[in-house]
């Protein structure tokens, strides 16, 4: 398991947890938050964030007794999504997938993983890929199903895989070419 994440100094300042009304200050604050979210998720290999988790260690600091409001969290995810760093899951705006690597980068990693394990020409379900603990090391092993789906669509678009949608929601398959 990964070690403790080193939070930056400004994580201890209470104003960091209030979205600043002054535009210049707010722009910088959002930059800092976006960077922190991506680093934190990469460190913990987190792919999906639930914004309704009130005391999520990323969004709250018990040492200075401050936490980011749900509205503020949504603002940050919106900003992250503009640059392709996040995508909303569902219409509730409470869950999102954090893309600390680009979808293209995940696609290439998944293709390398499939080639290594000899899955070319066979169909593997998304669940199997996500649950797989084998294969070349690195970020891809233990990836969330949401990432697998996005990576598979990328490979389909570039002609390296075909996505086979099953009857149920769970058994979407990926055929590596």
């Amino acid at each position: 398991m990964a070690g403790a994440f080193a939070f930056p100094d400004f994580f201890e300042y209470p104003p960091y947890f209030t979205i600043q009304p002054t535009p210049e200050t707010q722009r910088k604050q959002i930059e800092l938050w976006k960077s922190l979210i991506l680093r934190y998720c990469q460190h913990h290999k987190t792919h999906v964030l639930n914004l309704e988790e009130v005391d999520h260690p990323l969004f709250s600091n018990p040492r200075c007794d401050r936490k980011l409001s749900l509205d503020a969290r949504r603002t940050l995810v919106d900003e992250l999504a503009k640059g392709g760093g996040a995508e909303w899951l569902g219409s509730g705006r409470t869950r999102c997938v954090v893309l600390w690597r680009s979808v293209a980068s995940w696609g290439e990693a998944m293709h390398a993983w499939a080639c290594e394990l000899g899955h070319q020409g066979t169909v593997v379900t998304v669940g199997e890929i996500a649950d797989s603990r084998e294969g070349p090391g690195g970020d891809f092993v233990g990836v969330d199903a949401e990432i697998v789906v996005r990576a598979a669509r990328y490979l389909e678009a570039t002609g390296k895989a075909a996505v086979l949608v099953g009857e149920g929601g769970d058994d979407t398959g990926v055929k590596f070419l």
Binding site: Y13, P14, Q20, P21, T22
Partner: protein
Amino acid sequence: MSLLVEGVALTPSGRPVLAPEELELRMIERVDVEFGDKRAGNMRGGLQGREADKYVAGVALVTSHRLIWLDQARAPGTEGLSCSVHLSRVIEAAPVPLKMTGAPSSSSLATRVPPGQPPPPAAPPPPAAAGRPAAFAISAGVGGVLHRQHQEHKQRQETVTEAFTDMNALMAKAKEMVTLAEHLAAVANRRQQRGTDSSGSDASDAETTEMDAMMLSMGIASPVTRETAGALYHQQLARQLADWLPQVLAKRGGILALPDVFCLFNRARGSELISPEDLLKACQLWRRLGVPLQFRRFESGVQVVQSLDRSDDEVCATLTEMINRPLGPSDDETRDAMRRMDAYSASVALGIPPTIASEYLLMAERHGILCRDDGPEATYFYPNFFPECEATY
């Protein structure tokens, strides 16, 4: 031979400096002055060396001591052609008429003044009786009305005096009080001047504070009223307010909320109270009159008056200095508590009311000097650390 008149000293806001116990009686705008008789054609007059100038479109002011004409075309901060005639010079028998004609109506004041130099300034002031309307030869219009009013007033005065002879003793006391107030004001002024040269001792500081408190309750000797200023009421009110405010502002952190100004100003006026709307109108006239004060409205709607030289940058610098002050060894509070400010602590530190302190904090926030923490109990302001943080720490 020409008719020479005296100059008039003006306050920074452009009102005449009144002598002790001098009261304004009446003010008329757009008045031309005519020295001598036009038909005779051989008379001229005015300030020494400025006899050839035209004395037109000014404001005429009758006080208990003088007939004053204020030049409205003067350059800011100068007296221009503003001039005055002491009422002791105004006698019916004198050969030279002095006419003040108000346009466009027929209101005019005409009087007769002996030609030649004004009396030396050291001449003793006339008894108050010199201001009696008998000394005027008044033709018509507003002048006539003034004359009639004055006569009626005198009659009423006599009735009252007869009926309440006891009051005379009290009146005499009141006069003594006014003299005392003016004396104290003069002393305090001298003190203040000395204070700016060298920082006085604590004892004299305490005395001055006491004196200020007394002066504030003594108030304004000759308040501008609708009756005396007429159409010029708001303009004159604005000027008087501008003359009175700086000493008050100096004691209150250089800034006052409008409601405070209203209370303090009316308290200083004592009896001739003004309405909130009059105050608002007077403040709004400052910019046009070029007085060294500003009336501003913060984004939240809080309205304040402040001196023109108090800039936002200066306040921001003070706040920056306050919030970055190093911690003293006696501070046992957490580091957190010292590095932050709320409206209350800022108001204590700046010596201003919390509403205004809050506006200053918001202003400093807009300038990027502070940033906020909407905490559960209050909003605190911290030094703005965001620009110094690196996104790639």
